[in-house]
């Protein structure tokens, strides 16, 4: 026991308190750092107590100062894990809500633009034409209004497809997947997996378990927060504080190794445009799991998959597009049937009166056609199917949307060309150019017998326009609208979109509350409280001051001793 040992103890106290103040300082510095876990220095006394020490003096001498026994990182793995799980759902809903709002804006029929307004204008024009069937301006307006309905269908369809393409690409290998949102999010997942494996490596390297650097653990947790927002992963912590990550049953990160990377690819099916598989290394062709798309049912990537897929229980762009296509094709088919056919089956004939009788034929005078190119197949035959004709003769037959052209070649051979017109959809519906070029081709008239003499003068006949107007509110004209009219079907579609968007928004609000609550709890467990730090600061400052005081006392004592020996 010597005076020097007191000085040693005081010196230890100085450095321990210095370290404690450093930690406080670090806590204060990071008071606003998101994801920072408060650190606390744990102190313990150093004892050199030996059983042989038999007297009080020896006991006192066995006290040999203070040391830092450990540094506690404030954390709660259970709560943290719970946060990651809920964060996955939260980020699913955030992504879904923003994309769904975009879709909703496109079908916001409450605005003065949109399909219902286009239809209103169209029927206004139909009323006007019905009142003045011989008026070229009324005809022109009617054709323009019909053409406008087509444009609205086209642009709605293309805008919806744009949203889908931005999110997932078109579904066919055309370069749109690489620049899509889902592709960049998958890249982010893969880079997070790499970073996590690196952090795992550093954790083992710097302290193997217990003493791993707290900043690495903070970094690990913030990477996991980011990852959990993208895909629903399972996270398990090992005894040495590294984490393993798996998706479904497939391990992605195991300690310091990335075992599997996510890969996104086109399916070729526009209704379910992409699939996700797991490969063993970046750009590798070795597949560990060929399709984990159904496992990715949460997180922002899950939200994109759902929105761009065709699951009828989810809110999908597909269902909105499908409804649009149904409306476009029903609208076109019914008006085409009124224009060239006999929708009531009463034997009457639709006619366009333009000075010379024009009894309408299906192929050239339809109101609406598909702007997509028809599918063409050509077959050759060695059988002369056009007997008795000269070479080069062609015979054209049409039925419905199919046109068959048979051409006689030299030597009695024939070629048969079959052209099938694409079905009308919202994307391709367009007004027949023959009608645009000659608005008198619009069949406003409907007559019992087109061969009646003088029939060409019946330009005031508006019976067919009456059918156009009737069809607006008579659901029996439509076969695929579930017993409603076009405009009711549209409002039902808007209702269903609105309900689903509202549902997503409500769920997001609730989930925000849940996540905020967990975050608050987590912050309460791991965050920095300034007052607490200031209290500690004063405490350590006082301890430091006292230890320094011991120095000066011991110094005085030493001086006494030195003087004593003089």
């Amino acid at each position: 026991m010597s005076l020097l040992s007191s000085i040693n103890i005081a010196q230890q106290a100085l450095s321990v308190n210095q370290a404690a103040i450093t930690t406080v300082s670090n806590n204060i510095a990071n008071v606003d750092t998101e994801g920072y876990s408060k650190l606390r220095v744990n102190q313990a006394q150093i004892t050199n107590y030996t059983p042989s020490a038999s007297n009080a003096l020896a006991m006192a001498e066995s006290c040999s100062g203070v040391k830092i026994s450990s540094v506690t990182r404030y954390s709660d793995w259970f709560l943290q894990n719970y946060y990651w799980q809920e964060n996955t759902t939260n980020s699913y809903l955030t992504q879904a809500s923003s994309a769904a709002s975009n879709v909703q804006n496109l079908v916001n029929e409450l605005k003065t633009t949109g399909l219902s307004s286009a239809w209103s204008n169209f029927y206004d024009a139909a009323n006007a034409l019905s009142s003045a069937p011989s008026d070229i301006t009324a005809r022109q307006n009617y054709v323009d209004a019909a053409s406008n309905v087509c444009s609205v269908f086209n642009s709605m369809s293309s805008n919806l497809n744009d949203i889908k393409n931005t999110l997932t690409g078109s579904g066919i290998p055309d370069g749109t997947l690489q620049s899509s949102e889902i592709s960049s999010q998958i890249d982010k997942v893969n880079s997070l997996l790499d970073k996590l494996a690196d952090v795992n490596y550093s954790i083992i390297k710097t302290g193997n378990g217990e003493t791993a650097s707290p900043s690495l653990l903070d970094q690990r947790d913030s990477l996991l927060s980011e990852l959990s927002g993208l895909v629903p992963v399972n996270i398990e912590q090992n005894a040495n504080q590294t984490v393993n990550i798996s998706l479904g049953d497939t391990k992605l990160v195991n300690g310091t190794d990335v075992k599997g990377y996510l890969k996104i690819s086109e399916t070729g099916n526009v209704n379910n445009p992409v699939k996700i598989s797991i490969i063993d290394a970046k750009d590798s062709s070795v597949t560990l799991n060929s399709d984990v798309t159904s496992e990715v049912n949460n997180g922002s990537i899950g939200a994109i998959l759902d929105l761009c897929g065709s699951d009828s229980t989810k809110f999908t762009i597909y269902s909105v597009l499908n409804n649009l296509n149904t409306m476009a094709s029903e609208f076109a088919n019914v008006l085409n049937k009124i224009q060239v056919g006999d929708p009531n089956g009463d034997g009457t004939v639709a006619m366009a009166m333009n000075g010379t009788t024009k009894q309408l034929t299906a192929s050239t005078n339809l109101m609406f056609v598909s702007s997509s190119s028809p599918t063409v197949t050509t077959t050759s035959s060695s059988h002369a199917t056009i007997p008795g004709e000269t070479d080069g003769t062609t015979i054209t037959t049409s039925s419905g949307t199919t046109t068959i052209v048979t051409t006689r070649l030299s030597g009695g051979n024939t070629t048969i060309t079959t052209k099938t017109q694409a079905a009308i959809t919202a994307a391709n519906i367009s007004i027949n150019s023959n009608i645009v070029n000659d608005p008198y081709s619009v069949a406003a008239a409907r007559v019992a017998d087109p061969t009646t003499p003088g029939i060409t003068s019946e330009i005031g006949n508006n019976s067919n326009m009456a059918l156009v107007l009737d069809a607006r509110s008579d659901s029996s004209y439509y076969t695929n609208l579930g017993g409603t009219t076009l405009e009711k079907y549209l409002s039902n579609t808007v209702f269903s979109v609105g309900t689903k968007v509202a549902d997503i928004n409500t769920r997001l609000e609730n989930q925000n509350l849940v996540v905020n609550e967990i975050q608050n709890n987590l912050k309460a467990k791991t965050g920095v409280n300034m007052d607490e730090e200031l209290t500690d600061l004063i405490k350590y400052q006082r301890a430091y001051q006292a230890a320094a005081r011991i120095f000066s006392v011991c110094n005085d004592l030493m001086e006494e001793l030195v003087n004593l020996g003089r």
Binding site: V31, D32, E34, Y36, K38, S101, Q104, N105, V107, N108, E109, L110, S116, W119, S120, D124, N127, A128, S130, S131, A132, S134, D135, A445, V447, T452, S457, E458, I459, G460, N462, S463, A466, L469, S473, D474, E487, K488, S491, V494, F495, S496, V497, G498, T499, V501, A502, N516, Q519, N520, K523, A524, K525, G527, N529, M530, D531, E532, L534, T535
Partner: protein
């Protein structure tokens, strides 16, 4: 010990969330107050949105019926005026014929009356060729064809008045759409109202008038007397046509009234659905503003005011 640690960042985040929530509610209310609409996108209230779209469609449809009827109403008025003028002309022809049938009338007087009757014929032809808005109203559906043409011989006597419109036996009706699936014919044909004249088959008022003119030319008083009955029949036909289309016109008026009532109801329902209750919203807005101010003040106190630092 179950004391929750209140952390500085946690407090800041929580307060920030509160402010953001309060501001978002404030923003929503300001939006509603500014636009006057409580439903601006379908998800605000899906079923109201659906009803609003349906109402919009219905209103547009009803407006269409109203404008159809108002166009047709005008034509019906023209038709009614024409029938009125025709009645006057027939009355005039009747009184002239009554004079001519009087045995004391000289041939010179008869010639005089013939000139007047010929003039009446010209006027009736003009009436039969009445156009409204570019449409020959008595031509059936041949609305661009002048329905009557007159042929005369060298001495100026009428040899034929031919009807060129859609015959009453054909598809002559022009329809006006007045309500769901209801289309009302608003026209008749010239041959039903005026008839036509040829030597072989004189019909209607034209047949009578041209025959009368010939009878006056030949001073055939016996025939002239018998024409009086024919003129009377024509008066009946004219009155009948007038009544028939007056009832169509009445029907239009009734339908217009019904539609206007429906429009008023729909408009008020629409307003209930989409219009924000301004009084309610402004009071909510004030309340929300107070709440927001309170949040601001508490936040600044909590983050800036309460700290041990102030006492060190």
């Amino acid at each position: 010990m179950d004391l929750t640690r209140i952390t500085t960042l946690g407090t800041a985040n929580t307060m920030l969330n509160h402010i953001l929530n309060a501001e978002s509610r404030y923003y929503d209310l300001s939006q509603q107050a500014a636009s006057g609409l409580k439903v601006s996108k379908p998800s605000d209230d899906p079923s109201a949105a659906k009803s609003l779209i349906n109402i919009k469609t219905q209103l547009n449809q009803l407006d269409g019926y109203l404008s159809n009827m108002s166009v047709s109403q005008n034509e019906l008025n023209v038709l009614d005026d024409t029938m009125g003028n025709l009645t006057d002309l027939i009355d005039k022809a009747t009184s002239l014929s009554t004079e001519a049938a009087n045995g004391t009338y000289s041939e010179k007087n008869m010639d005089n009356i013939k000139v007047q009757i010929d003039q009446i014929i010209e006027s009736v032809v003009d009436l039969a060729n009445t156009q409204y808005n570019g449409t020959y109203i008595f031509a059936g559906t041949r609305t661009d064809t002048k329905p009557y043409s007159v042929t005369k011989d060298v001495s100026g006597n009428i040899t034929a008045i031919t009807y060129n419109g859609t015959p009453s036996t054909g598809d002559y009706k022009r329809y006006t759409s007045v309500s769901n699936g209801v289309n009302v014919a608003i026209n008749t044909t010239g041959d039903q109202v005026f008839g036509s004249y040829s030597v072989a088959s004189p019909t209607g008022i034209f047949g009578t008038l041209v025959n009368l003119s010939h009878d006056l030319g030949t001073y055939n008083q016996t025939n002239i007397s018998s024409r009086l009955d024919e003129l009377n029949n024509s008066l009946d036909t004219t009155a009948l046509t007038r009544t028939k289309f007056a009832s169509v016109s009445n029907k239009f008026e009734l339908t217009q009234n019904t539609i206007n009532t429906t429009i008023t109801q729909l408009t008020s329902y629409k307003s209930d659905l989409e219009d924000a209750d301004l009084a309610q919203i402004l009071s909510d807005l004030t309340a929300q503003q107070t709440a927001l101010n309170a949040t601001y003040s508490v936040t600044s106190q909590l983050l800036g005011g309460t700290s041990l630092l102030n006492y060190m």
